[in-house]
Symmetry: C2
Subunit: 347 residues, 2 copies
């Protein structure tokens, strides 16, 4: 799904960054390095959001890719901006084992004999890079040669994506202050707000709107996007404890050490098993043996099964939202395949 | 100049924040509080940028304030976003003696028994608030009911404002790592990049473009804006050491304690007096007596006079840029008055 359709997005992003780098060279090597880091941050991902924009657009009869490509670029850069600012909030210096923007500017400060300023360089570079990506996400939509009404609808989607994601990000941070497990409902709404809306709902709906789709089609894709977005996150949370790091590329200790509020924990918190589990959640020096013990307890208290069922249930409801009268068969089949990958991922 | 013309901007901002607060209430009290903090951050300033947009617009024949007001709002929110993210970079918890967004969310974390998370709440709230303000700055321009060419020109201005300000902010932070005084040229270009472009050049040019002004008028206002923006900053830097805190509301110790790179310091660094001055610059526990000694040395080495002359020179060149053939007399006189206030401020 991704490889073919997002080629134009990659080309467009390369063109944008080449132009930005050229302009940046008037302002010295640090600024060029910032743009290099930003381009790197926007590369290497799976381009899920652009693929969703383009799938909805072409699947609903859209043909002019010179319109759809900037919209796809917009959602990719929105994602880049959010990831970068999220890393500042989490004080992360790397992402998937590679130095992120803050990490790169930490190294840069050291290389320039400014080690005592490394923290300031890192935060500054990452905040600015996120601002630049966010600005271009807006600009890409704003410059579309479409009429005022169409532009308004697309800008409303982007606005909702930013507004709801910010609410979710804030909830995520304030939730971690909670001394008790959240409810399953609280966890689900944070997942929807922080990720599902901007990553699934909005890109699908943007492609549909741009294709001139009916309100029924747009609504169906929106409902599908919210549900499948949550299903992906639920599965990620399960894999974050029960996955195979060799396959997922993700540690199975980090979420437990950070005390991440997942539906696993939310469910466990309602069971008699919680008293035994609680001491391990948020334990900074949790060992693999501890984690194995926690896994056993999460299984026996029913939390794993409950989380699995929640993910499957969201997936089923997502597919059910794809009313055949509103979503043409090829697009429907593509999205059903996508839905399958949300839950059936290797443990 | 400001009171009358920016009334509509205040009304528009109030309307925007009222709607946002209503939407935010679906996402819980912390998010409503974030919007309250953001509104507060956008209030209380002098609304210089909106005033410049409106002055240029009406001064060059523009009449439809329903077009100019959103542009003025855009530049005010851009300023709000930059100030908020700048405070994150500087780890500031207050601005002019009042708790800023980070400060308010620090207090909020404490009030909610999340004192150990106060830093995370503060940074998260401030980064998100800046992102929300930046997004609305873009949206306000993008939604203007003007043709594609006009929209493109206005969005290019906003793009340049963001691009150059980010370069200036990065330069500002990397410059502080310098162990030697910067050159006067380096200080001047950072002032221009970080502040003059987005605060003076771009708002004036946006008003002019929207009014359908000639290329000569747009160029003249751009040149004036860059020069007068630098003049304001130069005077601020002088007042930051030689001002009367009772009149400026600004400490005369902070800049010296932080080792701020100003033209005063840049000039002093080229004189034999520097060896005596250097130990006081960046001295965290600098006393008022120390500061008084530094003032004497900055006077005697000629740095104060040089900085004064630079400010006056920029002011003179700014006024000279206002070609009477390109800038109608009432606007020209208004801008000349503004230029006077750039340098003639109470010490």
């Amino acid at each position: 799904m991704h490889e073919i359709q997002t080629l134009g997005v990659g080309t467009e992003l390369q063109r944008f960054f080449a132009a930005a780098r050229l302009r940046a060279s008037d302002y010295g090597p640090h600024y060029v390095a910032l743009w290099d880091s930003l381009e790197q941050a926007s590369s290497g991902g799976k381009r899920v959001r652009p693929a969703l924009v383009l799938a909805a657009f072409t699947g609903l009869g859209g043909t002019d890719l010179t319109l759809a490509t900037p919209v796809a670029v917009s959602f990719e850069l929105l994602h880049t901006a959010f990831v970068i600012h999220d890393d500042v909030i989490d004080h992360d210096l790397d992402r998937r084992g590679v130095a992120n923007i803050a990490g790169q500017f930490t190294e840069r400060a050291l290389a320039h004999g400014a080690g005592h300023q490394a923290g300031a360089w890192a935060v500054t570079a990452a905040i600015l890079a996120g601002d630049l990506a966010l600005s271009e996400a807006h600009r890409a939509l704003a410059m579309l040669p479409v009429d005022l009404e169409m532009r308004g609808r697309l800008l409303d989607l982007l606005d909702r994506a930013v507004f709801v994601s910010a609410a979710g990000e804030l909830a995520d941070v304030t939730n971690t202050a909670s001394k008790h497990p959240l409810t399953v409902t609280q966890v689900l709404s944070t997942l929807e707000q922080k990720t599902a809306v901007y990553s699934f709902e909005a890109p699908l709906q943007a492609g549909a709107i741009l294709a001139g789709a009916s309100a029924a089609s747009i609504d169906a894709l929106g409902a599908f996007g919210r549900l499948i977005g949550v299903a992906f996150q639920l599965t990620d949370d399960i894999l974050g404890v029960f996955g195979d790091p060799a396959k997922t590329g993700k540690s199975v200790l980090t979420d437990l050490r950070e005390g991440k509020q997942t539906t696993l924990i939310a469910h466990a918190g309602t069971t008699p098993g919680w008293a035994e589990i609680a001491p391990f959640i948020g334990k900074a020096d949790l060992t693999e043996a501890d984690a194995e013990a926690v896994r056993g307890m999460l299984r026996s208290c029913g939390a794993l099964q409950a989380a699995d069922e929640l993910a499957t249930d969201h997936c089923t409801r997502a597919v059910a939202a794809l009313d055949p009268a509103a979503v043409p068969t090829p697009l429907r089949e593509l999205l059903i395949t996508l839905a399958g990958t949300a839950v059936n991922r290797s443990r």
